[in-house]
Symmetry: C2
Subunit: 181 residues, 2 copies
Amino acid sequence: MTDINLKGTGSVRPAEQPTRSGEPLWDIIELLFYAYRDFVGDADDVLKEFGFGRAHHRVIHFVHRYPGLKVADLLDVLRITKQSLGRVLKQLIDEGYIVQRAGESDKRQRLLFATPKGEALVAKLAGLQTDRITAALKGLDPAGADTVRRFLRAMIDHDDPDKVLQIVLGGARSGPRDTTR
Amino acid sequence: MTDINLKGTGSVRPAEQPTRSGEPLWDIIELLFYAYRDFVGDADDVLKEFGFGRAHHRVIHFVHRYPGLKVADLLDVLRITKQSLGRVLKQLIDEGYIVQRAGESDKRQRLLFATPKGEALVAKLAGLQTDRITAALKGLDPAGADTVRRFLRAMIDHDDPDKVLQIVLGGARSGPRDTTR
DNA sequence: AAATTATGTCAACATGACTGACATAAATTT
DNA sequence: AAATTTATGTCAGTCATGTTGACATAATTT
């Protein structure tokens, strides 16, 4: 019971570690934890006033950014089940943040669009997050923002069929719907 | 939720402009979303095999990294209630990943330590995440890793009383409790 | 006509948050 | 010494958001 090992970082090495070379990057792991916690925390406070949670934020964000998104696309992005999405999406539609429209070529599809009300909410949330990012980039050298973008891109799995992710990774720097594919 | 009230207090940069100007940095916002999703996704798969979730990961990670952590410290780090922590912590203790020991000077305190079993799990999870980070850093110029660290640090609220965060931000680059070196 | 696809919905359940109330032992203050 | 505060644990109920499985409907494709 009292096996304590106060200093233990290196002693545990299972024999069958295949391609593990470097020491754990503890500091970056923890910086990512804290940075993301505070990054989403900005939005949480505002969302609470609206009676929404993070799930609503993710939905309205991507719908706003990629107008005409299909429900199926959204499921790929968020990696949740349609039942889970359904509840949140229904609330956003009922309260007038999102509207649906049947697809023209395929009338089964429900294309999603943010209303002005929805856009205002997204803008408010994105503004907070942008302020934080801008402040963080300010302390870096001129190439810093580019380095950060490159790092984040490389952290993402590229073998994902998600259409929105392909646009994000595709290189569009500030606009959605870059049809270069 | 443990609201920390960081709205009015000084931002990361003293005497600089009060932000609120630039266009939303959509791409970085979305890159952060995807990067963090995949970053924690690595661990999720392993955790599932152990019958654990992300909550367990966060607890065992910080206990391993900061041996002798008090329950109260952990609550500050994770920003959850003691009831919430209690359930997860109890499982980790019952299954032999963490042990408790009463504090010497203050016997009310339950100091937490990872067992070898707990250390092995943390090492496995940190290995996966480190592999991803290492791969992402590989494509950057030599100063890239430093830029990334600086960016992440600046993304974090600095007016947090969390003792662990103070250590993380304090500058220890690769080990916990470096004060004894 | 039959099969497939896109979406929606009902029902039950799991996890990990939450609030509020109360219990205990140890430390601190009066 | 007694009273209070602190660190922790626990019971009970609720909420948000995820899950699986089954089934329904309309539109498209075969």
